[in-house]
């Protein structure tokens, strides 16, 4: 008998969620993590001198309840921070989960928009709830579903109908729209629309005028729990998930890089580490992205050529770079920005997204394989660290490759842009580090540097994520499952695909 029932490749939030869920159900689980720290992309670089970026996230409330994460130290109700759009004229727009505060801020730009805001927030909450329900629905390989497989879909359909005709259609219409079209139906202020539309292109190889960016907007709103990034950094999330998984009996090994998922007669037999060590198991979950799983960890022989072709065509196309800045610890970020404004204690997420045309032009560069000269930036702060999310920095550059020279260009563009909006910042920078899309690929096994493990586009949505017919977490190889962000509901720190994968396996 094998020592483990289940091996999980990768100890990011989804791998750990699946591990804890399965261990709690009595499975003997081993998690294998390539790096010396857990958390995957959530935990940033492992270099001790590195400026550690911590993406933020919210584990879905049902996962927190089921795994009892609160008792393992996780804050059950983290708030989304304010999203503050910095404008060139030193004005700013604040989007907060506090409606009154937001209405007040919007009214400096448009009174009709301020008046519509409460309705908009109500609609977004309902639409996000519908999307969350869709994400919780197990997807059977259409159209050969049986009653038991079709039932959840029917339940989802009923839930959608329960929204009432108006909101149901508004939800359905929203998904294929461009962020701009969607927001044009609500608001008139370009500044407000641009700030909201920035969520529609976040991590996406899309512009605010590209069809489908409204879906990404709603997805980001759901996983953030609001407009800004959640206040909770993912260190807490990973630590709680680790404690939970271990307490339920899962084992976790770091510095254990999987070289191959071993397969015999189209059935998984276990894994082989780069050290040559073989670990047998009848069930393997991969939380790495689907391209990495199917094209690197599995040899092509057991896979149908058509399937391999499909896997090769999954759109990753990362467009995100990160730049981390450290400034003098005695200086608070907000005072750098506006010395006259009194210091606020609550952290905020700042964006450089002054107009819809600005965002669209930033994306235009990516279409032609260039780094945006006027990028969309999102800034989060932690102590004296500033993490800059930079778009668009395409993985596939047309006239060059990612090198010291292009990295330098990237950093210079970021600093120049920041200086326009935060005049006092540059003189205070003590240290700077950047992660290009290529670094994301080499450092975090994110194929093509896509943090979402596959673009959140309509043709990679629902039963088409990651590959049409394989959205159920199962793969053509018996016993091999996917549980990472590349699956239905994935993208952002939420634990959704990890949970869904565990539930699928437990039903077997």
């Amino acid at each position: 008998m094998n020592a483990y029932d289940t091996l999980i490749i990768g100890a990011g939030h989804n791998g750990l969620t699946a591990a804890a869920w399965l261990a709690k159900a009595g499975k003997r689980v081993l998690v294998l993590e390539k790096r010396p720290v857990l958390g995957g992309f959530c935990m940033g670089q492992d270099d001790a001198r590195a400026l550690v970026p911590f993406p933020r996230g919210i584990i879905r409330p049902d996962i927190i309840r089921h795994l009892g994460l609160e008792q393992f130290g996780l804050n059950p109700a983290p708030v989304s921070t304010d999203l503050i759009s910095l404008l060139p004229d030193s004005r700013q727009l604040i989007l907060s989960t506090d409606t009154a505060k937001t209405v007040e801020s919007i009214s400096q730009f448009s009174r009709p928009d301020a008046a519509r805001w409460p309705d908009f927030v109500r609609f977004m909450a309902r639409a996000a709830a519908a999307l969350e329900a869709a994400y919780a629905t197990p997807i059977s390989p259409l159209p050969k579903f049986s009653i038991s497989q079709g039932l959840p879909l029917a339940q989802l359909a009923l839930k959608l109908r329960g929204l009432g005709a108006k909101d149901m259609y508004a939800f359905i219409r929203l998904l294929p729209m461009s962020a701009k079209e969607f927001l044009d139906e609500w608001f008139e202020s370009d500044i407000l629309k641009a700030a909201l539309a920035s969520l529609g292109i976040h991590n996406a190889n899309l512009g605010v005028m590209s069809a489908g960016s409204a879906y990404n907007l709603l997805h980001q709103y759901l996983v953030r729990g609001g407009w800004g990034q959640p206040a909770q950094d993912s260190r807490q999330i990973i630590a709680a998930l680790e404690r939970a998984a271990k307490s339920y009996g899962a084992e976790i090994r770091v510095n254990a890089e999987v070289e191959r998922i071993t397969v015999e007669n189209a059935r998984v037999t276990g894994i082989r580490l780069t050290t040559g060590e073989q670990i047998p198991a009848a069930c393997v979950l991969s939380s790495t992205d689907p391209k990495h799983t199917f094209l690197r960890l599995v040899t092509p022989e057991p896979l149908d050529p058509e399937f391999v072709w499909q896997a090769q065509r999954i759109k990753m196309r990362g467009v995100t770079a990160k730049i981390h800045l450290a400034f003098d610890p005695s200086i608070r970020f907000s005072t750098l920005r506006q010395p006259s404004v009194p210091e606020s204690n609550s952290p905020a997420t700042y964006i450089i997204a002054p107009s819809l045309a600005y965002l669209e032009r930033a994306y235009d560069a990516a279409k032609y394989g260039q780094i945006s000269e006027n990028p969309y930036l999102e800034l989060t702060t932690a102590g004296n660290l500033l993490s800059v999310h930079f778009q668009f920095a395409p993985y596939f550059l047309k006239k060059s490759t990612w090198s010291d020279e292009t990295r330098n260009t990237l950093e210079q563009i970021a600093l120049t842009t920041l200086a326009e909006f935060i005049p006092n910042l540059n003189s205070q920078i003590q240290n700077l580090q950047s992660l290009t899309p290529l670094d994301l690929e080499t450092g975090f096994s994110l194929t093509e540097g896509d943090p979402h493990h596959g673009q959140l586009m309509l043709d990679q949505f629902f039963f088409m994520r990651p590959i049409p017919g394989y959205a159920s977490h199962e793969t053509p190889i018996k016993g091999l499952y996917l549980c990472g962000s590349g699956l239905h509901g994935g993208g952002g720190v939420s634990g959704i695909p990890g949970r869904n994968a565990a539930k699928t396996i437990l039903k077997k």
Binding site: A165, Y169, P176, D459
Partner: protein
């Protein structure tokens, strides 16, 4: 004030209005068509703009007209004659060209010249698209259901839609789902490597659409253009004898033969509402007509925001129609020519002279996907493309009646030409738009400028002014995913009925959308007859 009574009044004598009227008359109804202009045809008209030169002013090719409509209305007997456009010729910046010929093997050989790999992929791609067009075809004759309704009619519609989806193989269903949601660039990148081939094919994905080929949703538009059939052959495009006006003239003849009365020069002022029902139509000259059923073949904005006071519709519905996207994206430059354009890539005179074969087909200025995407970039910031995509046909090569002997008419469909341009359309801007087109053509056919003896410039604003289509969108509303099937033109009202009893929509703004297709006109007639008591 004269007043007349009919069973049905149809507003607008374009192809859908005429087809709708013909089907109603065929069922024994007394029908009057009211056309604003002195001629019928709407956006499918042929007019002699310069003496001896007859222009297919707007719509210029035929393919999508449903074969069952041609059959049922016996259109060939009424003069419909479609002449095939045998080839597509894409001249390239380097003096070479890419062509698709009528003969399949010739086309394969031609593609092979550019890329052996693409020549191999070509047949598989064509098979996929034909299969997908076949798969979508039943949807064209389906009345979209209301997903929120529990009425027997809608549940039946839902059942029919589900049964249709279940009838597709798993593979086709997935391929179709991908196709509907993808960008045309992604679709074509999966198959081909030759820039000109991808550029030319991607162009079908942007026609009438305010999106670039890299935007999701454009692969569906590409498929929409694949649904055309001529004599059962998919993806066959043709040119009607006497131009597109020849198509509508034949439909008008068929309609008249069935007893339809057609009044031209009869612009409608408003729809008369009595006791909560549409009861008649008042013309701008004060004439009134009364009927049990009023059908609008105008675009949704005109139909619901102009002809009828908004108070007769629910607020949500009015908001939906206001939000219906009708951004015009294309224009035309119709040229009267003293001689044929002489393409550098295909000389018809001199030592290397060849017969003017490409001139008999479509000529496409679409050297690459990036070229078209950049054309879109100009338009999305409010300018006509500096280097536009141009789809050219020379009707006088196919139908000699279109121009004086030895001279030619050339129809240039141009994209992108936004309706809303910075500062609005002025004569100067129109001239600049024409200059962009001519300068682009000149790169490939240097004699074009001196060959021009007359030109007609048509911007989306002109389409709106002349053909009466709001926003100048050739499809009466963009073929965006959120404006298709049960969402076209508005959720819950995609079955050709409207919130005003007795009032129907029967044009391209309804399912299944634009092109000289006629499906909306026919389907609406079926629904009207179902409601007739």
């Amino acid at each position: 004030m004269p007043s007349h009574t009919y069973d049905a009044l149809v507003i607008g004598g374009g192809h859908n209005g005429l087809i709708n009227a013909a089907y109603l008359a065929r069922a024994g109804k007394k029908v009057l068509v009211l056309e604003r202009r002195p001629i019928v045809g709407g956006a499918a008209v042929t007019e002699e703009i310069f003496p001896g030169f007859r222009f297919t002013e707007f719509s210029y090719v035929v393919s999508l007209l449903r074969p069952e409509i041609i059959r049922e209305l016996d259109l060939p007997r009424h003069g419909l004659k479609i002449l095939p456009l045998p080839s597509t010729f894409t001249p390239l910046e380097n003096g070479d060209y890419l062509a698709a010929w009528a003969d399949h093997d010739d086309t394969r050989r031609e593609i092979y010249r550019h890329s052996p790999r693409d020549a191999d992929a070509y047949d598989d791609y064509a098979r996929l698209m034909v299969r997908m067009a076949m798969a979508v075809k039943p949807l064209l004759s389906l009345v979209p259901p209301d997903l929120a309704s529990l009425s027997p009619r809608d549940l039946l519609g839902l059942f029919k839609t589900a049964r249709y989806a279940a009838s597709l193989s798993e593979k086709d269903l997935y391929a179709l789902a991908k196709l509907i949601t993808q960008s045309s660039a992604d679709l074509l990148d999966d198959w081909f490597e030759t820039d000109a081939l991808k550029g030319t094919k991607s162009a079908s994905g942007i026609i009438g659409t305010f999106l670039g080929p890299r935007s999701p949703g454009t692969a569906y538009v590409l498929l929409h253009h694949y649904m055309g059939e001529i004599d059962g052959a998919f993806r066959a495009w043709g040119f009607a004898k006497d131009g597109s006006g020849g198509v509508t003239a034949s439909i008008a003849r068929a309609a008249r033969a069935l007893g339809v009365e057609i009044r031209t020069d009869s612009p409608v002022e408003k729809v008369i509402v009595k006791n909560g029902r549409a009861a008649g139509v008042a013309l701008q000259n004060g004439d009134e007509f009364h009927a049990k059923v009023i059908v609008s073949a105008a675009d949704p904005k005109r139909t619901f925001l102009q002809f009828v006071e908004p108070k007769y519709f629910p607020d949500d519905f009015v908001a939906q129609i206001r939000n219906f996207r009708v951004r015009g994206s294309s224009g035309k430059l119709n040229l009267a020519l003293s001689e044929l354009p002489e393409f550098t890539a295909w000389p018809t005179t001199g030592p290397n002279a060849r017969p003017p074969d490409p001139h008999r087909g479509a000529i496409s200025i679409s050297p690459s996907i990036d070229y078209i995407e950049r054309a879109y970039d100009d338009a999305k910031y409010g300018q006509p493309s500096r280097h536009p995509y141009i789809d050219i046909v020379i009707p006088s090569m196919i139908d000699p009646d279109m121009a004086p002997p030895g001279q030619h008419v050339m129809s240039c469909f141009v994209q992108y030409v936004p309706y809303d341009i910075e500062g609005g359309w002025t004569d100067q801007k129109k001239a600049q738009f024409a200059e962009n087109v001519i300068a682009t053509l000149e790169q490939y056919a240097p004699n074009i400028r001196r060959a021009i003896i007359g030109q007609q410039i048509i911007t989306p604003a002109d389409i709106e002014r002349i053909a009466g289509i709001t926003g100048g969108n050739i499809f009466h509303g963009e073929l965006l995913l959120h404006q298709l099937f049960f969402l076209r033109p508005a959720p819950q009202w995609a079955d050709f009925r409207t919130p005003l009893p007795g009032y129907y929509l029967a044009a391209s703004g309804a399912h299944p959308g634009g092109g000289i297709m006629g499906a909306a006109g026919k389907l609406a007639a079926q629904e009207i007859l179902k409601d007739w008591k």
